[in-house]
Amino acid sequence: MNKNRKALALLVLAMASASAGAVAPLDVLSLPAVQGAQAQHAVLLGITRAGERLVAVGERGIVLLSDDNGATWRQAGVPVSSTLTAVQFVDSKQGWAVGHAGVVLHSGDGGESWNLQLDGKRAAAVELAAAQAAADAPRQANAERLVADGADKPLLALSFANGREGLVVGAYGLALHTDDGGQTWTSWMDRLPNPRGLHLYAVAQQGQQLYLAGEQGLLLGSHDGGGQFSALTSPYEGSYFSLALEPAGGVVVGGLRGNLFRSVDQGVSFQALTNPIPISINAAVVADRQLLLVNQAGGLLQGAVGSDALRPVALPPGAPLLAVAKAADGALVGVGFAGPQRLAAGATAPHTSIAE
C-alpha cells in the first residue's frame, strides 16, 4: 500500500469520525450528575444518616442531602451519572455510595462532595490481576469476560466496618474489599462460595459476623470478619434482596414474594417470620429496636426486634417507597419512585398498632 493511499484512508476515516462524531460518545463514568429541580422527584434507592444529616442516593448519580430531617433537600455534586444503589456512612463525615457501572464513590465531608474510587473497568482489572496471580484458569477466563464486558455491572450493596475496611458487592458475584478507605481494592470473588456467580443483593456486618444474601437463595456467612466464608443452609430457593442484623444478634433476610426468615444462631438455622403480604422485600433496616421492611409494592412493614409478627404501616399518600431511614428527630423518612418523602413521625409512635 502506498503512502498516499494510506493518507487518504486516514483522511476519510478522520472525516467519517468527524461527521458522525460531531457529538462525543456518552460515558456515565465521566458525565457528572445533572443538577436540577427534577432530582427532587428522582427514583431514589438508598437513604442513610450521616450524623444529623440525611443522605439519599438514586438514579443518574443523584445524591440528595437534607439537614432538616427530610423536610427539604438539596442536590450534591457527583462526578458520575450512573444509578447509585446503596449508601453508608460510618460517621458524620465519612461515607461511601455504590452503584451501576461498578462505581464506588467516597465522601469525606458528609456527602457534600464525592470522588470516584472505583469503577467497573478497574474492578474487572483488579479481578483479572488477582486471577492471573492465582493462576486459576477458569477464574481467569471469567475475569477476562468481565474486562471485555466493560463497566456494565452494578454494585448493589456495601458494608463498611469503619473508615478503612469495607466490602462492596454486586451483580454476577462481584465482591471487592478495601482496608485503606477505598484507596486500593482487593477482589474477594474467590473467597465467596458462589460458583454460579449469582447476584449479591445485600451485605451486613456486626463485629466479626459478616453476612451476604443474593439470588436464588444464596446465603453466605463469615465469622471472622471476612477471612473465610461458608454457604449457609438456605430455607428458601428464591432470591433474597435484603439483610438486617438485630442488636441481639438475630439475622433477618427478606426476599422474593415476601419470604422472611430469622436466624438467632448465626445462620445455622432459619425460622420463617409471619408476613401478611406476599410481596418481595426489597429493603430491611433496624432502627430503635424496630425492624422496618419495605416491599416491592412500596409498602412498609414493621415489627419489634426479635418478634416474628409484622404489621403493615399506613403510609401517607405518595409514590411507592423503596427504602427508609430514621431521621435525627425520630421521624421516618422514605425514598422511592418519586423522590424523598418525610413519613408521619407517628408511624412508629406507640399509639399506632405497630409497637408491641
Binding site: 457529538v23 438514579e59 428464591g238
Partner: protein, 822 residues
C-alpha cells in the same frame, strides 16, 4: 370609496316620463332596462343555491387547524404513520359509581362498551386499548422466571377469584395511571382514530361524537359514569355548538331589523334590506358546497359578518332612494340615481372589506385561509344582492311615503336655520383646539397604557382543557376529571428520534434519549415523560425479579435489544428507525410549550448525529407549539399587511399623507386597545383570535373613509374644519353610526355562544367595530385639527350651508337638494 361624482351629472327628473331610460352607464342600463330578467335570474340563483345550501356540511378537520407548512408539522406528518395515531385519539373513562373497578357488573358493562366502540367507524382498531383488549398485558416475576399475560385472566368468569387475579394483574401491568385510574374506580378505553375511514372518506367527527354521546346515554344508566376526552369529542361538541349558533343568527337578524326600522321608520324597505342581506347569506352558503367547502366552527361566523355588512350597505342604498322619493322622485328614477351614485362607492367599500379578509390568506393555517375565502365569497355575493338586487327591488316596491318625508326632516330643519342637533354639536367640538388637544392627549395616554398592557399578551391557549369550550362545559369537566385521576395529561409533547434502520435500540442513542428525557423533566410544566430509555430502566427492574436496584439504562447492547424487542407499540416504529419521546405537560400555555421547544432544540443542536436526530414535534402539545409559532409570526406579519393595505387604500383615495394619518391612527389605537382587552380578558393570540384584528381593521377603515373623504373635499373647497366635519357628519355620520351599531350587534350575539372562542371573537370584534366608529367620529377630527392644513376662513357668513351645498361635489348618500328646495 365615496369619492363624490360630479355634481352636474344628475339632472332631476321627478317623474318617470321625464326620465331618459337610455341614460346612465352600460351596467345601469343593462340592469334597470331588464328588471324582470334580473329578478328572474336572482330568483333562480336563490332557488338553486338555496337548494345547494341544504347540502352544506359542518365539520372541523384536525389537519385544517394545524399549520401544515411548519417544519414541526412536516416532521409529524412525515412520520405520522409510525406514531400510531398519536395525534388523534379519544379516551373514554368508564367510572364505577358503586366502587372499584373490580366488580363483575362493571367489567361486563365495560366489555360491552368496549365491543361497541370497537365497531365505530374511524377507530384504529389495531391500537385500541382497554382492559379488555389483548394488548393490555402484565409481566411478573416468580422463582422460576418471568410470566405474563393479558390483564383479564384466562378463564375470567366474574368470580371473586378472577377479580382478585385481575387486580393482581393490573398492579403488575404498569397501567395504573394509564388505563386504570389511581383510585382504581375507573378505567379507560383508548381509541386512536384514523384520519380516513375504511372507504377513504375523511372521518366524520360530528357523527362520531354523536355515536359517543348515544353510547354515553345508553351506558350511563347501567350504574356507571362515562367521561370522554379527545380532539374528536371537542370537534363534536363544537359542531353541536354550531347548531346553537343558528339561534344567535336569528337574534342578530331581529335586533338589526329593529335598529334599521328605528332608523328608517319604513317597514317596507326595512324588510327589503333584510331580505336582500339574507339572500346574500343563502347564496354564500349555497356556493360553499358547490366549491367544495364545509363550514367549520370558525367560518360559521362569516354569515353573521356578511349579513351585517349587507345590512349597512343596504341601509345606505335605501337611505338614498328614500330621500330621493321624499323629494318627489319616482321610485324607479330614485333607484337608478342611487345606483348610479353608489354602485362604485359601494363596490369600493366592499373591496376594502375584502382586503381585510384577503390578508388572512397569508396565515398558513387552513381554517383561517378557508375563513378568508368564505368571507371573500360572502362579500362578492353582496355586490350582487345589495348593490344590484336591492335597488332593482326597491324600484318596484318603493318606500313608505311618510318615512320618505321623515328622512329629509333633519336636513330640512338645518336649512331652515333650526340649528344643529345636539349630537352633531357635540361631535363638532372635537374640531376645536381645546377638545382636540384633550382628545389627542387622551388617545396618546390610552395608546401608551394599552401598549404597556398589551406587552403581557400571550400567544396560545391560556386555559386548561379545551379552550374552545367554556371552562364549565361538560367536555372540560370530563377533561379535568381525567387529568386528576390519571397520571398522563392530555397535553402530550412528542419528540421523534430518527435513527438508521435497526438503530433505535443502540446504547448511545438511548442514552441521549434518556438524557433528553431527564432534561425535559427538569422543566416547569413537564409532569412526566415516557420513552424507550425509561422503559428500559423499568423493564430491567422487571427482568431482575422486580428489584428496583436495577433501575438503570445499562450499557449492555444485548439487554437493550431484548427489552426493545418486547416493548409496546408507540415507543418505536416497525423497523426500529424512529423513537418517540413523550413529555406529558401540566398545561398548554405558550410559556410551557416554548420552554419545551427551546429545551429540545438546544438538546438537538448538541446531540444530533447520523445515529440519532431529534425532531420536533408531534402530540397535541407539539402541534400546538408549532401553531403558536406560526400564529406569533403571523400576528406580526398580518398587522403589517393589513395596515399596509389600508394605508395604500387611503392614500389612493385621499392623496394626502396627513389625511391617511388622521384615518389610520384611530385604527391603530383600536388595535392596541383590542390587544390590551385581550390581556384583561385572559384571551391569548390563537387561531381563533388571529382573524379578529384583520377583520376589525379591514371593516373599521370604512368609517374613516366615509368621514374623511367628505371632510377632505370640503376642506379643498375652502371650508373650515368645523364646517367640513359638520357636513361629513350630516352626509355620512348617521350611516357610520348605523353601520357601527349593526356590525357590533351582528358579532355581539356571539358572546352567548357555548363555544368560548366564538364568544371571545364576538367581544373583540364588537369592541373593535364600536371603538373604530368612535375613533372615526371623535379622534379623527381631533387629529385633523392638528394635521390637516386649513385655509384661513374669511368669514363664517360667506359659506352658508346652502351655498356650500351647491359648491359641494355630489355627496355619497344624499342627492342634491334642488328638488326639495325648489
Amino acid at each position: 370609496m365615496h369619492v363624490p361624482s360630479s355634481s352636474a351629472a344628475t339632472p332631476i327628473h321627478s317623474t318617470l316620463e321625464d326620465f331618459d331610460s337610455r341614460s346612465g352607464s352600460l351596467l345601469e342600463r343593462a340592469l334597470f332596462n331588464h328588471r324582470r330578467l334580473v329578478l328572474l335570474i336572482c330568483l333562480l340563483v336563490t332557488a338553486l343555491l338555496g337548494w345547494q345550501a341544504t347540502r352544506l356540511e359542518l365539520n372541523a378537520s384536525f389537519e385544517k387547524m394545524i399549520p401544515n407548512d411548519h417544519p414541526f408539522i412536516a416532521n409529524y406528518l412525515e412520520h405520522r404513520q409510525e406514531l400510531s395515531g398519536l395525534g388523534n385519539a379519544v379516551r373514554i373513562a368508564v367510572i364505577n359509581k358503586k366502587g372499584s373497578i373490580y366488580d363483575a357488573a362493571y367489567l361486563q358493562t365495560l366489555q360491552q362498551l368496549n365491543d361497541e366502540v370497537y365497531l365505530l367507524p374511524g377507530v384504529d382498531r389495531a391500537f385500541m386499548k382497554s382492559l379488555w383488549t389483548p394488548s393490555t398485558r402484565w409481566v411478573g416475576v416468580t422463582e422460576e422466571g418471568l410470566e405474563g399475560g393479558p390483564v383479564i385472566p384466562d378463564g375470567y368468569d366474574g368470580s371473586a377469584q378472577s377479580l382478585e387475579a385481575l387486580q393482581r394483574n393490573i398492579e403488575r401491568s404498569n397501567e395504573i395511571g394509564q388505563l386504570v385510574a389511581f383510585d382504581q374506580q375507573s378505567s379507560i378505553i383508548y381509541l386512536p382514530l384514523l384520519a380516513k375511514d375504511a372507504d377513504g372518506k375523511p372521518l366524520d367527527y360530528s357523527a362520531l361524537a354523536q355515536q359517543l354521546e348515544s353510547l354515553r346515554g345508553k351506558y350511563q344508566q347501567q350504574g356507571i359514569e362515562i367521561r370522554i376526552t379527545g380532539f374528536a369529542k371537542v370537534v363534536g361538541d363544537l359542531i353541536d355548538g354550531l347548531r346553537q349558533i343558528l339561534l344567535f343568527f336569528a337574534a342578530a337578524i331581529v335586533i338589526t331589523a329593529v335598529v334599521l326600522y328605528w332608523y328608517t321608520r319604513c317597514l317596507r324597505s326595512t324588510t327589503l334590506v333584510m331580505a336582500c342581506s339574507l339572500v346574500a347569506v343563502v347564496w354564500q352558503l349555497g356556493l360553499l358546497p358547490l366549491l367544495g367547502y364545509q363550514l367549520d366552527p370558525y367560518s360559521v361566523l362569516v354569515p353573521f359578518l356578511v349579513f351585517a355588512i349587507g345590512m349597512s350597505h343596504g341601509a345606505q342604498k335605501m337611505n338614498g332612494i328614500m330621500q330621493d322619493i321624499g323629494r318627489g322622485m319616482h321610485r324607479l328614477v330614485a333607484a337608478r340615481f342611487t345606483f348610479r351614485r353608489l354602485f362604485l362607492a359601494g363596490l369600493t367599500a366592499l373591496l376594502c372589506d375584502a382586503v381585510g379578509f384577503a390578508v388572512l390568506m397569508i396565515i398558513k393555517i387552513q381554517v383561517i385561509q378557508d375563513l378568508a375565502v368564505i368571507a371573500s365569497i360572502g362579500v362578492a355575493v353582496l355586490i350582487f344582492t345589495n348593490l344590484i338586487l336591492l335597488p332593482v327591488l326597491l324600484s318596484y316596491v318603493g318606500v313608505t311615503p311618510a318615512a320618505a318625508v321623515r328622512s329629509l326632516r333633519s336636513e330640512q330643519a338645518e336649512i331652515d336655520g333650526a340649528g344643529k342637533q345636539a349630537i352633531w354639536r357635540f361631535l363638532d367640538l372635537f374640531t376645536q383646539r381645546r377638545w382636540a388637544t384633550v382628545c389627542v392627549l387622551l388617545a396618546a395616554v390610552l395608546a401608551g397604557g394599552g401598549y404597556w398592557v398589551s406587552l403581557h399578551l400571550k400567544i396560545g391557549d391560556l386555559d386548561a382543557g379545551a379552550p374552545e369550550l367554556r371552562a364549565d362545559s361538560r367536555y372540560n369537566l370530563d377533561n379535568a376529571y381525567l387529568t386528576q385521576h390519571y397520571g398522563a395529561s392530555s397535553d402530550i409533547f412528542a419528540v421523534m428520534v430518527k435513527t438508521p434502520a435497526g438503530g433505535c435500540s443502540s446504547y448511545d442513542t438511548l442514552q441521549r434519549v434518556d438524557n433528553l428525557d431527564w432534561q425535559l423533566r427538569g422543566l416547569p410544566g413537564v409532569d412526566a415523560t415516557n420513552s424507550l430509555a425509561l422503559l428500559n430502566r423499568r423493564v430491567l427492574v422487571g427482568l431482575s425479579e422486580g428489584n428496583p436496584k436495577w433501575y438503570e439504562l445499562v450499557n449492555n447492547q444485548a439487554t437493550l435489544n431484548m427489552v426493545t424487542a418486547g416493548a409496546p407499540r408507540g415507543l418505536y416504529n416497525e423497523d426500529c428507525s424512529l423513537l418517540t419521546l413523550y413529555a406529558y405537560l401540566t398545561d398548554h400555555k405558550a410559556d410551557t410549550l416554548g420552554r419545551v421547544v427551546d429545551s429540545v432544540q438546544a438538546f438537538a443542536k448538541d446531540n444530533d448525529s447520523e445515529q440519532a436526530q431529534f425532531l420536533l414535534a408531534a402530540g397535541s402539545a407539539g402541534i400546538e407549539a408549532a401553531t403558536n409559532i406560526v400564529v406569533k409570526q403571523a400576528s406580526h406579519e398580518m398587522l403589517w399587511w393589513v395596515y399596509g393595505a389600508v394605508i395604500v387604500l387611503c392614500l389612493v383615495t385621499f392623496r394626502s399623507w396627513r389625511a391617511v394619518l388622521c384615518a389610520v391612527l384611530p385604527l391603530v389605537l383600536t388595535s392596541i386597545l383590542c390587544e390590551a382587552l385581550m390581556v384583561w380578558l385572559g384571551i391569548g393570540v390563537k387561531v381563533a383570535t388571529l382573524p379578529v384584528i384583520a377583520l376589525g381593521v379591514g371593516i373599521g377603515v370604512d368609517y374613516a373613509l366615509y368621514v374623511m373623504s367628505i371632510v377632505l373635499a370640503q376642506l379643498r373647497q375652502g371650508a373650515s374644519l368645523s364646517q367640513a366635519y359638520y357636513q361629513a357628519l350630516l352626509f355620512t355620520g348617521k350611516v357610520v353610526m348605523l353601520t357601527g351599531v349593526t356590525l357590533a350587534i351582528g358579532v355581539g350575539t356571539w358572546i352567548f355562544s357555548p363555544i368560548k372562542f366564538q364568544a371571545d371573537m364576538g367581544v373583540l370584534l364588537a369592541f373593535m367595530f364600536v371603538w373604530n366608529m368612535v375613533g372615526a367620529l371623535i379622534l379623527l377630527p381631533a387629529l385633523a385639527y392638528f394635521l390637516l392644513p386649513q385655509k384661513p376662513v374669511v368669514s363664517q357668513a360667506v359659506v352658508k350651508p346652502q351655498t356650500l351645498r351647491e359648491t359641494l361635489p355630489e355627496p355619497a348618500t344624499k342627492p342634491p337638494l334642488h328638488a326639495a328646495i325648489r
